[in-house]
């Protein structure tokens, strides 16, 4: 293994977007026949580097060498010609096409005139060879997420790629599905394929990778062999000098009365499938309740149902002692709900509008912001200045669209707006996702302050460490149901992990 021939090298890669540097002088070397993990926190520049490797982004500076020969990738096609292909976080599939059509799409070896049956049997043969199960004739829109990921991998194998880049492939998978993926990847490695595996989960990386390259803030921190390292070393490399405090950020909770009561809640997703299934949940005043789980297990639907954006098909939501099940969004806000949605830039703010329009999304219906049917420009300006100052939102100029603010400041603005209404319950979905360390800490402080002042917080997060740091109780969601719950002080990762995989907690 150690003597594998040198495969692909990236040297001195630099890439910036509108002045924001995503990669700075990054090196990466990949050997044929290895699983190479790219590890780093959210926003460390892993995805950007992968996109450069796969020809999607053109680097501002730096070189790409395959077998020692320099290549310039003007497009993914060039990368594919050099036998490098990528599975993106958001799948690149045409969902009105069949599996087989997706697999042959854009392949230079596809005959100019295609024979549907031939095409499907070719894809079936490919499935067989690599032990991947999916029906070649099925429409992609009828497939599960895990199956769609398999189609993505099939596409690359059909292209005959030697390097498969997988960007956070497990983010959408259950642990069982992830295990299946790992065994498939090991099989591919045996065939001599090189796999670039992007993750911010240490255990996954240690389980699958041969070597690990760690990134932080757009730069490469170092590279180690998986056999020669442990999670402590990797953590230090990921987060830098600053030592993560193993202590919980929050002190003991002093829970008060129930502020949010969810009973037998049933909610459907956009495809009218049951996404939240007879779910019960309570949040008391003065506590932070964390919801852990793999993405896509009903978190979004649960949050939207509590916020009034999605009509439940059964059950009830009681907010601050009042039945809120049939209240609309604004009425729930008046009843004491604050909501930080998971899609910051598309739901949390109107990103093309200036900050003042975004800061009044909750208050535009009342004095002093509005008088009669009119919105008072002066009151809006005052309100904006006040919130910007109080919540330390930076990089703001009046009239500047939200989309030009950094992620951390957008999130601060959203929290500022929600907290300004003095909510009794704050519902926060993935509030620190993709934020840097400083912004994350600021958000954490706000959530804790909310709790300490006697408010309730429902924190939905995929980041277990964050939940362990903040939550007084962690409830695990799987398949739209709560699998079990643990209180602060007795968090047990193993059993939380089992619950996330769908195994019920022992009573």
């Amino acid at each position: 293994m150690s003597e594998s021939a040198l495969g692909v090298e990236l040297q001195g890669i630099r890439k910036s977007f509108y002045g924001q540097v995503a990669n700075e002088d990054v090196d990466l070397d990949l050997r044929w026949g290895e699983v190479h993990a790219l590890l780093g926190e959210n926003g460390a520049g892993k995805s950007t580097l992968c996109s450069v490797l796969a020809g999607l982004y053109r680097p501002d500076a730096g070189r790409i060498l395959v077998d020692g020969v320099e290549h310039h990738f003007a497009s993914p096609r060039d990368a594919l010609d050099a036998r490098i292909g990528m599975v993106y976080q958001h799948f690149r599939l045409v969902d009105t096409f069949t599996v087989a059509e997706n697999v042959v799409l854009g392949h230079p070896g596809t005959p100019a005139w295609m024979d549907r049956r031939q095409m499907e049997s070719d894809v079936a043969a490919l499935c067989e060879r690599y032990g991947i199960q999916v029906d070649p004739a099925a429409l992609v829109l009828d497939l599960s997420v895990g199956e769609q990921q398999r189609v993505e991998i099939l596409k690359l194998l059909h292209r005959g790629v030697h390097v498969l880049v997988l960007d956070e492939p497990t983010a959408v998978l259950t642990p069982a599905e992830a295990e299946a993926l790992f065994s498939a990847l090991r099989g591919l490695r045996e065939e001599g394929k090189t796999i670039v595996f992007v993750s911010h989960h240490l255990d996954e990386v240690l389980a699958i990778a041969d070597r690990v390259t760690v990134m932080r803030k757009g730069r490469r921190v170092g590279q180690v062999a998986a056999a020669d390292t442990d999670s402590d070393q990797l953590v230090r490399m990921m987060v830098g000098e600053q030592v993560v405090s193993p202590e919980r950020l929050s002190g003991p909770a002093s829970p008060g009365p129930v502020i949010l009561g969810v009973k037998a809640l049933e909610v459907q997703n956009d495809l009218r499938q049951v996404a939240v299934d007879a779910l019960d949940l309570e949040v008391h005043a003065g506590e932070i309740v964390g919801i852990a789980g793999v993405a896509g297990n009903g978190q979004r639907e649960l949050a939207e149902a509590i916020a009034g954006l999605r009509r439940p098909t059964g059950g009830s939501v009681v907010l601050n002692g009042r039945d809120a099940t049939s209240l609309d969004v604004l009425a729930r806000v008046r009843a004491g709900l604050g909501f930080v949605p998971e899609d910051r830039l598309t739901t949390g703010v109107a990103s093309g509008l200036p900050i003042e329009d975004n800061l009044i999304m909750r208050s535009f219906g009342r004095a002093p912001i509005s008088r009669g049917p009119f919105v008072s420009q002066r009151a809006v300006r005052q309100w904006t200045d006040e919130l910007v100052e109080r919540f330390d939102i930076r990089g703001v100029r009046r009239g500047l669209p939200m989309s030009l603010l950094s992620g951390g400041n957008v999130q601060r603005a959203i929290l500022a707006r929600e907290m300004a209404e003095r909510p009794k319950l704050l519902l926060a979905a993935g509030p620190t996702r993709g934020l840097d360390v400083g912004a994350t800490a600021a958000i954490h402080r706000l959530l804790l302050a909310m709790r300490d002042e006697g408010g309730g917080v429902l924190l939905i997060s995929e980041d277990l460490e964050e939940l362990e740091l903040l939550a007084d109780r962690i409830a695990v969601i799987y398949g739209g149901r709560i699998m079990g719950e643990q209180a602060a002080g007795s968090f047990d990762r193993d059993s939380i992990g089992r619950m996330m995989a769908g195994v019920r907690a022992e009573a």
Partner: protein, 377 residues
């Protein structure tokens, strides 16, 4: 990186928040000037002197007080169809049905005028007739708004189809039947029946009638509505992101429908004003002159700002009213259409420059010759 390679400076676009005020003010002027330049090239290519043609056109449009009256009269419906487009486009609802909404507005206005206006006091008659026109336009837009709000049916195609349905309906009323609207005395040359005197718009200045003031008032009203009211705020939200609007508690389908109805009402009002003003009867030949489509040009040049719609409509109306004068100097009057089309193209093309600023990026590393500007144009 190989230091021996050349470093090539390159252009790149950077998004900027709000264009500077001078650019916003100059934009319509620059757009029309750009169209004029392109038109001048066409004139030169086809053997005319742009200077002569443009000065003749300028005289015909703005040279005398009669010319001003004509220009303002022809700009009146353009203000309203321009507003119709501006209001809808702001919300990214592509109502290109101003044309048909205008016809239906004219049909409704003339119908009501013929039915009830006789004997009413002029103020009431005119108010009722204008109201009928606006209502007619709104109802016609509603035919596209309802399926859009209910099923998400694409409004570009539906409003476009409704234009033709309205056109043939109007033609049918005058040319294809001897119905209520038709002047039955004139059989050889079918025309509409004249509306009662009480519904005819009083004149302000020569040919210029009260309709112009109504149009300007609507422009100011819409400007205030969009800029300073809660309703306008929610429209802005929906226009930027329907998901954010839902999050803010806005009932999005309802808001979309109401904007389409308002847009239709403005276009319908344009039809009604033509009836009580320059036409005096339902006159398909004089109504079907692309006022709805030209309104879209006006809105685009005015960058969807209701106040800016007024001067832009006057300029475009001036170009239109100069058309016949061009004919006498030997230039085909269709030059007007060419200029309007060019103006729209220039505006469309320069929109990118309004929201981005051009920068010379720090020299590109020549080691990556394939590296193109970040924003691919």
């Amino acid at each position: 990186m190989a230091p021996s390679r050349l470093r090539i400076p390159r252009l790149r676009l950077e998004p900027r928040g709000v264009p500077p005020i001078w650019l916003r003010l100059a934009f319509p002027v620059l757009a029309l000037a750009g169209a004029g330049c392109a038109g001048a090239v066409l004139l030169l290519l086809t053997g005319f002197s742009p200077w002569t043609v443009y000065s003749a056109a300028g005289d015909a449009a703005f040279g005398t007080s009669l010319a001003w009256q004509r220009t303002l009269v022809s700009s009146t419906p353009l203000i309203l169809t321009g507003l119709a487009a501006a209001v809808a486009f702001r919300m990214r609802i592509w109502n290109i049905g101003g044309e048909g909404q205008l016809y239906i507005g004219a049909i409704a206005a003339s119908g009501v005028a013929l039915a009830v206006a006789d004997g009413l006091p002029s103020v009431i008659a005119i108010a009722v007739v204008l109201g009928a026109g606006a209502l007619g336009g709104a109802v016609w837009a509603g035919l596209a708004a309802a399926p859009r709000a209910r099923f998400g049916t694409d409004e570009v195609i539906s409003t476009l189809m409704l234009n033709f349905i309205a056109l043939f309906l109007m033609n049918y009323l005058i040319f294809g039947s001897e119905g209520f609207w038709r002047d039955k005395e004139r059989l050889t040359y079918p025309t509409g029946r004249d509306i009662p005197e009480s519904a005819v718009a009083p004149e302000l200045w020569g040919r210029l009638h009260i309709g112009f003031l109504v149009a300007v008032a609507v422009a100011v009203g819409l400007w205030i509505l969009l800029r300073s009211t809660r309703w306008g705020y929610t429209v802005r939200l929906v226009g930027d992101s329907t998901r954010a609007a839902r999050y803010a508690g806005v009932r999005v389908p309802r808001r979309i429908a109401s904007v389409l109805l308002l847009s239709g009402a403005a276009a319908g009002l344009a039809g009604a004003i033509l009836i009580i003003g320059s036409l005096g009867s339902l006159e398909p030949r004089a109504l079907a002159i692309n006022l709805g489509y030209t309104g879209i040009i006006v809105a685009a040049v005015a960058r969807l700002n209701p106040l800016a719609v007024v001067p832009v409509a006057v300029a475009v109306g001036g170009i239109s009213s100069a058309g016949p004068a061009l004919q006498t100097s030997g230039v085909p009057s269709e030059l007007v259409l060419v200029l309007q089309g060019l103006a729209l193209l220039v505006v469309a093309a320069s929109e990118l420059l309004m929201s981005n600023r051009i920068r010379f990026a720090p020299a590109a590393p020549a080691g990556a010759p394939s590296a193109a500007p970040a924003a691919r144009r």
